[in-house]
Every structure is written in C-alpha cells, then in structure tokens.
C-alpha cells in the first residue's frame, strides 16, 4: 500500500469504510488518518497522514506473539488467528505503529449505541471476532483474494490509498514509490513495513 500525502484530505472516509466492512466496535480502528499542523501563522500548514497496519516483513508483533496467533501469509499479509489468540496484548505493545486493536468483551456487549443492545448490523458482524482477543487490519484479505481493492482504498475520495504488489515493477504502487521516493514509517524500528508514503 502507498499513501499519497498530497492527495489525502484527512476525511476519514477510509476509517468509516473499514468500520463498515469489518464490523468494528466503537473506538476500534484498523486504520486512522492523523493530522499534524506545522509552522507558525501565517506560514502554517497541516498534513494528513493515513495509517494502518504496515504488514511488516520483520513484524515485531509476530515475534512476540506467544501463542502463534499472529502469522504471515505467503503473500506477505500479516494475519491474526482469532481462534488462537489469548489476548495477552504483547503484540499491541510491540507494534511501533499502535496498529493492534483490543476487542474487549464490553464493546461487544455495549454496542455502538452504548445502550447494551446490538443493532442487526452488529449482530451479523461481530461473530467474526473472539471477544478478548487482539486483532488488526488484514489488508481486507478476503476482498484481495476476491480480486477487489481493500474497502478503505475503494472508498477513498481522493485515491490517496494505492494498493498493489510492491514486488511488481508494473504496479502503480511500486511506480509511485520509485518515482516520488516512497518512505516507510519509522524505519528506525527495523520492521520493514510494506506501506510507503509519498509526499
């Protein structure tokens, strides 16, 4: 995945699309678009920075996972097997990008309207999660397997999220990285992210 910081308008449509697609409870985000203001009036600007799991090649979350719940698919997508996860949160403190989400029992009980009832949407969606486990963005692996773009990519009004095979020199994602000098987030953490930013 490549994020084009010149395109992103910080609208967070991606965030809501992800919540819809993946039935995420209140306060849980597999992706967030952050903003940062810099400079002093009148020479000031704001940059919008989309973030999600970087599907790190050397994923610290996987290294510390004592149960083997976190694993990497052949295509490089870092996955969590909810059946195996014990909810120790080790991965959450190991991910330098704060991209792991704790699926507390309470959030499944309280519901999005915090009234102790679940909407039909939640009822049909929450079954995918095991309460108490920790999970995260899986690059919409099912959609990707079905040949679709991830939900956040599909909805992004400005096409700021470019999904593609970074190993394929023909892919738009790879080309953008090469042309505009894509940078990974926090390279000093030595995680080898598969997400790059161009600005």
């Amino acid at each position: 995945m490549v994020f084009d910081l010149r395109r992103c308008i910080g609208c967070n449509a991606c965030v809501v699309a992800c919540k819809q697609e993946n039935s995420l409870p209140d306060g849980v985000f597999f992706t967030r678009t952050l903003s940062q203001e810099y400079g002093v009036f009148p020479n000031v600007n704001r940059v919008y920075i989309p973030t999600l799991c970087n599907h790190c090649e050397d994923a610290p979350c996987q290294k510390v996972c004592p149960s083997g719940a976190t694993y990497t698919r052949d295509d490089g997508i870092v996955m969590v097997d909810g059946e195996k996860c014990i909810g120790c949160n080790s991965c959450a403190v190991a991910c330098p990008y704060d991209q792991r989400s704790v699926m507390t029992k309470e959030s499944f009980e309280d519901g999005l309207y915090a009234d102790g009832n679940l909407t039909p949407f939640e009822e049909q969606g929450y079954t995918r999660f095991t309460p108490g486990t920790v999970t995260k963005c899986d690059f919409c692996s099912e959609r990707v397997d079905a040949g679709l773009d991830p939900a956040c990519v599909a909805t992004c009004p400005t096409d700021a999220r470019i999904f593609g095979d970074l190993d394929d020199p023909q892919s738009k994602a790879r080309q953008l990285i090469d042309e505009r000098g894509g940078k990974p987030p926090l390279p000093e953490k030595n995680t080898k992210p598969k997400v790059f930013y161009v600005s």
């Binding site: 940062q36 810099y38 940059v47 290294k63 510390v64 149960s67 014990i86 309460p131 486990t133 940078k183």
Partner: protein, 300 residues
C-alpha cells in the same frame, strides 16, 4: 520543517506520542508478583528461610498467575502462551514459571523439609539448582518481554532485564528479612552478608539501575525522553518521584542505615520498598509511549 512539537495525543487522530493502552495495572501486578515471588524464593533459598521460599512460590504461582490471567483477554486459552518459546519471551517466561514452580515446590518438600526421599543428594542439588535458575529466569524474563517491545522506546533498554532482576532481589531481600526476623528459621551466621546489608546494597543498586534507565531514556529517542519527562516532571511525577524514589529507595536506605535488624524497621523497610517497587512497575508501563510517525517530513 515541523516547528510544532508533536504532543501527547491519546487516541485522537493527531500525530504525536500515543500512550500504550494495552498493558495496564493487571499486567503491572502480574510482573510485580512474578518477579517478587521469584526473588523472594531465591533470597530465602540462599538464606534458607523456608517460609520465604514457600511464600515466594505462592506469590509467583498463585498471585502472578491470577493477575496474569485476569489481564488475559481469553483466559481459558492462556496455556497457548507457551507455544512459541523459539521467539517470544512470554512463552519462555511461562516455561520458566512452570519450571520454577515445579522444582521450587519439589525443593521445598524434599530439600528443605525432607518430606520425601529423593535419592542422592546430587538429585537434591539438581532440583535446587534448577529451581534457583528458573527463579532467575522468571525474574529476568519480564524485563526481556518489555525490552523486546522496541515499539515503546522507554522499555527498549538493555537495562530493563537488569532492573527486573534488581528489583526482584530487593523485594526478595526485604521480605526475607522480615520473615527471617520473627521465625529465626534462617541460619544467618553462615552467610557473609547480613540481610540488612544485602538490602542496603540492593537499594543502592536499584537506585543506580533506575536512574541509569531513566537517564538513558532521557537521552535516548524522543519517545523515551517524553516518557522519562513524564515520570520526572510531567503528569506522573507527583506520584512516581515520591513513591519510587523517596518511599521506595531513599526511605529504606535511611532506615537500614539507622536501625538495621530491628523487626519493625525491617517491616517498615519492606512495606516502603515494595510500594516503591510496585509503583515503579505501574508507572513504567503507564509512561510508555509510541513514537510519532513523522519521519517523512511534511511537504514544504
């Protein structure tokens, strides 16, 4: 150029230092109990304070397990934590705890109380050595588990396991001293160092280690510096400094200098040191922050 310092942002959608929100007080309690129990066992083993060994085993096996399971999102599957010792310190630690509990109990019933025949004294020694090594492992693994989380720069320090061991020993020593006092069970005369003196040394050692840890953090990456600042002058300072440094280190030091060996002093020392130790465990978790994602400077 980014002139606005990224702030501490909680879970807002702003770039900045984000608190880790995943290891809380249950985890701090589990760490505390795990380390303290192992330290207590080890010190008591050395000083042959049987009550200390038993208490140490109970603290680790029961309390630590209790807090750890209550931290766990899916407690019923906690056993799975043992599956990846090849890479995860939590798995390794769990194995240590199993070993420690097993051999510790075995040592107490055989070596200490001689309730069962266990063959040769070599076997007894092996049991004792394994129990002792496993205790060291338990003491240290918490630190490794934290320093392995390179995400949180405050924790990402080689000193972390040493601090764990140091505090475990300090905790062990001050509790053993209390237990050794009234029961008179320990044979102190055969050891070179008296328990109060050990306490003094360990207080100094820990003061040094904690200071070094925080000094290193302050002069380390920006996130670690923010964390250290929070502990010294920021949001946590009003609790961290009095509890960890004054109550947990300075007061025991003074008391041990003033009246070593007195039961009530030892009791006071133990209470103060343990509170400081626990506070250290809590705040070192709470002060952990992730670094802001800002390495790709904003477009000019």
């Amino acid at each position: 150029m980014a002139s606005a310092q990224p702030a501490i942002v909680g879970d807002s959608f702003a770039v900045g230092y984000r608190f880790q929100r995943y290891w809380g007080t249950s985890m701090a309690s589990a760490f505390f109990c795990g380390e303290l129990g192992a330290g207590l066992f080890l010190v008591s083993l050395y000083y042959s304070v049987n009550a200390g060994m038993i208490l140490g085993l109970v603290v680790t096996a029961v309390l630590k397990t209790y807090f750890h399971t209550s931290h766990m999102g899916v407690p019923a599957k906690s056993w799975r934590a043992i599956l990846r010792p090849d890479r995860a310190w939590v798995s390794r630690g769990l194995i240590m705890i199993v070993l420690f509990t097993g051999f510790g109990v075995l040592h107490v019933v055989t070596g200490a109380y001689g309730l069962f025949e266990m063959g040769s004294s070599a076997t007894l020694d092996i049991i004792k050595i394994v129990a002792a090594l496993a205790a060291v492992g338990v003491m240290a693994y918490h630190g490794f588990a934290m320093s392995d989380s390179t995400a949180i720069s405050l924790w990402d320090s080689r000193l972390m396991p040493l601090v764990s061991v140091g505090y475990a020993l300090l905790g062990g020593a001050v509790v053993t001293a209390v237990l050794a006092g009234p029961t008179q069970a320990g044979d102190v005369s055969q050891t070179a160092v008296s328990l109060p003196s050990l306490g003094l040394v360990l207080v100094l050692l820990n003061a040094g280690l904690v200071s070094a840890l925080l000094y290193g953090a302050y002069h380390g990456s920006p996130g670690a510096r923010i964390s250290a600042e929070m502990l010294f002058k920021g949001v946590f300072a009003r609790q961290f400094v009095p509890l960890v440094f004054v109550l947990g280190l300075a007061l025991p030091f003074a008391l041990l200098l003033w009246a070593p060996g007195s039961f009530f002093v030892e009791l006071a020392v133990a209470i103060a040191a343990l509170i400081g130790y626990y506070a250290f465990r809590v705040f070192i978790l709470r002060a952990g922050v992730y670094e802001p994602i800002m390495n790709f400077a904003p477009p000019e």
